[in-house]
């Protein structure tokens, strides 16, 4: 191996080191050990949260963390956040300390892996040996990792090739780094070659997953799926395979399958926020609201103390609860609506600078009031959202469509129509949004018709009350001509006709008309306040048709 002039003491002397352990003796011992090996700048942390906070502000060269950190975040989560947020540079080193109680982890099957594991209990000789090994390798890889830290991918990739030539023994480490970059840059053909090279040596899980990813990108979905399923058979805990299977199912437009794969992944690894939120989103699209609600709730819980804050996830969570909210005043409904209001309030606080979030959250509040049957509050929130939207420049289309939908929900049909027409005229709608707008428009015309038929109905009632039955019937006929006419309007029409026949003349056609109207109404249950009128009219019609025959 090259870099033979490696000196551990000299290397550690220059490093900013973080040691994390929740046990005070272990922490002290670790610091002492590191000092004896040559480290000069050592910070120590007691738990995962403290460690993550430190990592956010300090550039560490070496982090040594116990996997088990008591309550809260564990070592793996500290590592994931550090890598995901870019706070842990590629050139830096993360060493995980594991013990008897550490859950089984398959190296090579984690998205973010430490550079090395050291098993407890250990002696200073063991730590020295392992650090010497891993830091020496890191020093060989330094030209690559430095380029990665600068996001100079071309240079990093070419360095991989040249360093591999000098250090053929490091092929697994180097090609793993290289293929990660190739995938990031969507150079699937090149990545595939490297994955094949690795697999010809040994079928390591990450190379199998990588190969499947490349094949999926090339459209070879079936082969990709086969590899993933084989990989899962061999490494049943390799959750990322399930993620990739979900991605492929999405490409195949099999959202149900995608949901099932994600559910499987979540059951294996419930702590992963991104997976939970992806499951929530897909289940939401699949209209599987109970699954969506549970997944998003979990994602929200997990993201409480985390960097993975996603405003969209929070909004979707609030939407996923709506199916349980109605005007029944039931405990569940009230509880869920309270959850929505709490989440929205919290979200508005967290994303106070995010205009879109503020408006979307206000719209959700308004819609929640609609579902609760509280129209006044709903309208109030709707007005608030409208005001915010008006003051926003370049409001996203999604948001404007949400507003249009809320207008519809709150009975503001003209506004809704105007907004949708405006979006359509501007040609701003992509395929998905156009489809959404179409649906809204259908609802709108139905709502409009219902509203119009209600207006005619109101006029007809005036004639009916004045005793002008034929005029009333004429107008009621207009009102019920709309398929959207509500049950009350239909009942009114029947009542006018029955009253006309009872007081004037029995008309067989009119009897048929009434029967048809009853058919349109369907059944009105005894619990419904209109039931007695419905029953009375049915009896009246029955007598009339008996008389007629």
């Amino acid at each position: 191996m090259a870099s033979d002039g490696f000196d551990l003491e000299e290397t550690l002397k220059k490093m900013r080191v973080l040691a994390v352990d929740d046990m005070v003796e272990a922490r002290t011992a670790l610091k002492k050990m590191m000092t004896s090996l040559g480290a000069k700048q050592i910070d120590i942390c007691n738990d995962g949260e403290e460690a993550s906070n430190n990592i956010r502000t300090v550039d560490y060269d070496l982090i040594i963390s116990d996997y088990n950190l008591g309550k809260g975040r564990d070592g793996q989560q500290v590592l994931e956040e550090a890598k995901f947020s870019g706070r842990l540079k590629a050139s830096a080193t993360f060493v995980m300390l594991t013990g008897e109680s550490t859950p089984e982890m398959v190296m090579g099957a984690l998205e973010y892996e430490p550079d090395d594991y050291i098993t407890k209990p250990f002696t200073v000789e063991i730590v020295k040996k392992r650090l010497n090994r891993i830091l020496k390798i890191k020093s060989i890889l330094l030209p690559i990792t430095k380029a990665i830290d600068k996001e100079d991918w071309d240079k990093a990739i070419s360095k991989c090739d040249s360093i591999l030539k000098e250090n053929p023994k490091l092929i697994f480490k180097i090609l793993r780094l290289k293929t990660q970059m190739l995938l990031k840059q969507e150079h699937y053909e090149n990545a595939l070659d490297d994955f094949e090279t690795i697999i010809s040596l040994r079928e390591v899980p990450w190379a199998l997953l990588g190969k499947a990813k490349c094949l999926a990108q090339k459209g070879e979905l079936q082969t990709a799926k086969k590899i993933l399923k084989q990989c899962i058979e061999q490494y049943p805990k390799y959750v990322q395979c399930y993620d990739e299977l979900a991605v492929i199912s999405k490409l195949e437009k099999k959202l149900d399958d995608a949901q099932l794969f994600l559910q499987k992944g979540v059951s294996l690894s419930p702590k992963a926020i991104l997976r939970q939120s992806e499951l929530g989103k897909i289940a939401f699209e699949n209209d599987d609201l109970p699954v969506a609600e549970a997944a998003l709730k979990q994602a929200m819980k997990l993201s409480k103390n985390s960097f993975h804050k996603d405003p969209k996830m929070m909004l979707m969570y609030a939407k996923s609860m709506q199916y349980k909210i109605d005007a029944s005043n039931s405990k569940d409904s009230i509880g869920k609506s309270q959850d929505v209001f709490n989440a929205m309030e919290e979200g508005k606080d967290i994303y106070s600078g995010d205009e879109t979030f503020q408006i979307e959250a206000t719209i959700i509040e308004s819609n929640t009031f609609v579902n609760l049957g509280k129209n006044k509050e709903a309208k109030f929130k709707s007005d608030e959202a409208e005001k915010l939207l008006d003051s926003m420049d370049d409001a996203p289309i999604d948001l404007q469509l949400s507003m249009a939908e809320n207008y519809l929900n709150t009975g503001q049909i003209d506004k809704s129509e105007k907004l949708i027409n405006k979006l359509e005229e501007l040609g701003l709608l992509d395929e998905e949004n156009a489809y959404k707008a179409q649906g809204l428009k259908q609802n709108l015309s139905a709502e409009e018709a219902r509203k119009y038929s209600t207006e005619i109905n109101d006029k007809a009632i005036v004639y009916y009350e004045q005793g002008n039955l034929s005029k009333a019937i004429h107008l009621f006929n207009q009102a019920v001509a709309y398929p959207e006419a509500g049950a009350s309007v239909l009942l009114n029409a029947i009542q006018a006709k029955v009253a006309y026949m009872e007081s004037k003349v029995i008309d067989r056609n009119m009897i048929e008309e009434c029967k048809e109207l009853f058919n349109r109404i369907g059944v009105i249950n005894e619990s419904d306040e209109r039931h007695s009128r419905y029953k009375k009219l049915q009896d009246g019609l029955k007598q009339l048709s008996e008389k007629a025959s």
């Binding site: 191996m1 008897e100 398959v106 190296m107 000789e125 063991i126 040996k129 090994r133 079928e203 049943p236």
Partner: protein, 220 residues
């Protein structure tokens, strides 16, 4: 409802091993504290500690057998041979201060294997050698034609001719002396596979003028 009895046994065994671990830890703490013991007491105490370590070793071995049979999924990861050997060396010289335990392997030699299983296998062979009277152990590692070969050499009396035949152990279900140990090691080797090749074990005695056993473990 079906009940997985083996799961219960395995988890209980694991708990017991952990309890034992705590006991050994306590014993070590006691040893490190400065209570004054007579030399006779010290002897007894060291014997006690040694016995605890021995039980733990037996436990590990038993668990490994159990795992091979049932739930254990070997995890083949890249390890550096010298690092792995040094760990074993440390453990053995700690357990048996009088033992000469030498290791030799190229510094940059790495290989994919399940280190837990290999640890149990080598432990087994070394303990067998010590029981037979060996006082020197040599552990060598090399790469030969796409195999990792681990040599375990000792200076004991060597293996009797009939024991050099591995089939002997299989036909008797491992009931011969040391048989279960060799069978376990064989199984550990065979668990290692790569592109259709399977690990194996070879037993032999060192040629004259040396004496003692020479065991080779081949991992693909």
């Amino acid at each position: 409802m079906s009940f997985d009895f083996s799961m219960l046994v395995a988890s209980r065994l694991h708990d017991l091993k952990n309890d034992l671990h705590i006991l050994i830890d306590l014993e070590n703490q006691l040893k490190a504290s400065d209570i004054s013991l007579s030399s006779e007491q010290k002897k007894l105490f060291n014997k006690m500690l040694k016995q605890s370590l021995h039980i733990r070793h037996e436990f590990s071995q038993f668990l490994a057998v159990f795992k091979l049979d049932k739930q254990y999924r070997p995890s083949f990861q890249e390890h550096w041979i010298t690092d792995f050997f040094e760990l074993l060396q440390l453990q053995f010289t700690d357990l048996f201060p009088a033992l000469s335990f030498k290791i030799n392997a190229p510094e940059d030699l790495s290989w994919f294997f399940d280190d837990q299983l290999m640890k149990v296998a080598i432990h087994n062979l070394v303990i067998n050698a010590l029981k037979a009277g060996a006082t020197e152990i040599q552990l060598n590692g090399e790469e030969a034609a796409d195999w990792l070969v681990v040599h375990i050499l000792d200076n004991g009396p060597g293996l009797p001719a009939e024991k050099l035949q591995l089939q002997t152990y299989e036909s008797t279900g491992g009931r011969l002396n040391h048989g279960l140990g060799f069978l376990l090691v064989k199984q550990v080797c065979e668990t290692h596979e790569n592109h259709g090749k399977q690990g194996k074990i070879e037993l032999s005695n060192r040629p004259e003028p040396d004496h003692g056993a020479h065991i080779r473990l081949y991992l693909p």
